[in-house]
Amino acid sequence: MSFVRLLKTLFASPRVTEPASVLLVRQPSSPVDPGAARDDVEAAGARVRQIVEQLYGGRSLRIRAVDAGSTNAEEIELTALGNAYYDIERFGLSFVASPRHADILMVSGPVTRNLERALRTTYEAAPHPCIVVAVGDGACDGGIWRGSYAVVGGVDAVIPVDIRIPGDPPTPSEILRGLAEGLGRLPVAAGDGRREARGD
């Protein structure tokens, strides 16, 4: 690439970042799950909120993505979070290379038996306080593999989960919304009370 073209690409390319106010509005088409009990939601949400408050309001939280046997669909959506359109970094969230450096563990996939130990080790390696987020249907409750001999069944069968983000896979904006609401950082859009993307 010629130098002039490089400069044009760096400085003059279109800005495509979606504003936060647009991204984090709850889409009317997403279903609401009436089954989750209100007290559990409040209790788990309180734990997350307490952690976030201890860590200076969650202004800088670092995420470690753990693949516990997923189809990689969630991983691709997580990778998309870093691109120019979604830009997760502007919310102070960034991805790190080691669970020792992490404040949030984003676990995807139903926990296969081969990766059960790995997931537990990762959780133990992360320093407390650590928020565990289950990303995708498989991580939330086993998804389509629930009951299979090859999976343990949902992340909360192995380690305690603080936030669930369902979807197969959840879109990046759903992941962002789930994180934002679970961390209690950004207001829920106008509409009804409970979200299944809340702290659970």
Partner: protein
Amino acid sequence: MNRILLTTVSGVTVVALAPLAAGLVRRFKAILQGRRGAPVLLPYWTIATLLRKETVVSSSTTWVSRVVPVVVLACALVAAFALPLASRGGAAAPLSHLAAVAGVWMLGAVFLVLGGIDSASAFGGMGASREMTIAAFLEPAIIVTLAAFGLAAGASTVDGMLSVAGTGLVERPWLLPAVAALALVALGENSRYPVDNPATHLELTMVHEAMVLEYSGPPLALLELAGMIKLATFTLLVANFVAPFGLATPAGGLLAILVAPVAAAAKLAAGMAGLALLESSMAKLRFYGLPEYFFGALFLGLTSLALGLIVGWL
């Protein structure tokens, strides 16, 4: 002006502005990538958050790992206070001697490497081996480059070498390769492109990051702060050789002391913008392609030294 005050102001400025510099380079890179990026003050919050977290100590490590963050931060602090970054002629000026500067940087690198070896994992060992190679092979380039400046300025401390900075470079154009060599050394020592990618998650491509994989909580905060201070130190050093304005000197007054942090911030911003542009426009070198880089830095420094000697004999 009181020399101790000059040193203190310079050191405190650099330490206070170092996380801002790290935030700035990330912000500039994000803008060049077409997005907004993290808040500029994010590194301050990162360090504060890390100080509140738990320390997980690996059972394979020894007492040396507990000492590593302290020594690495101590070396970064000494370099930040001794070098002429926001002031010149302070009380710590004799400590910016060529040997002291090279020695302190090497001491910090050595302890970081020992921490990487101590983690008993292949990642730590690999990062340690690479970092030690880079530090060892850049050592002759550092000495020769600073000697070229020392020859031109008639001084053996970096403090004195600044007398040939700025317009002095125009009068002595043979020092320009030395400035380039200093920039190459700075990139190598701080693990930036094209020597290392500081944002990578692939351990096989890590150099600096691989050595800190085992640290968590407050020790990690110390190490990250040390890395930021080192980046700010090198940036201001190179910037001061090119544009030495706004430095507080013993002859200046109170106004100089107030102007110095502002000038330092401006130089940091310009330096970080240049670094972001550099990192966004080139790819990282293969590790086994680095000998050319080392030899390039050494050759530039030697050229400056040789030309300076020849000009002196004419």
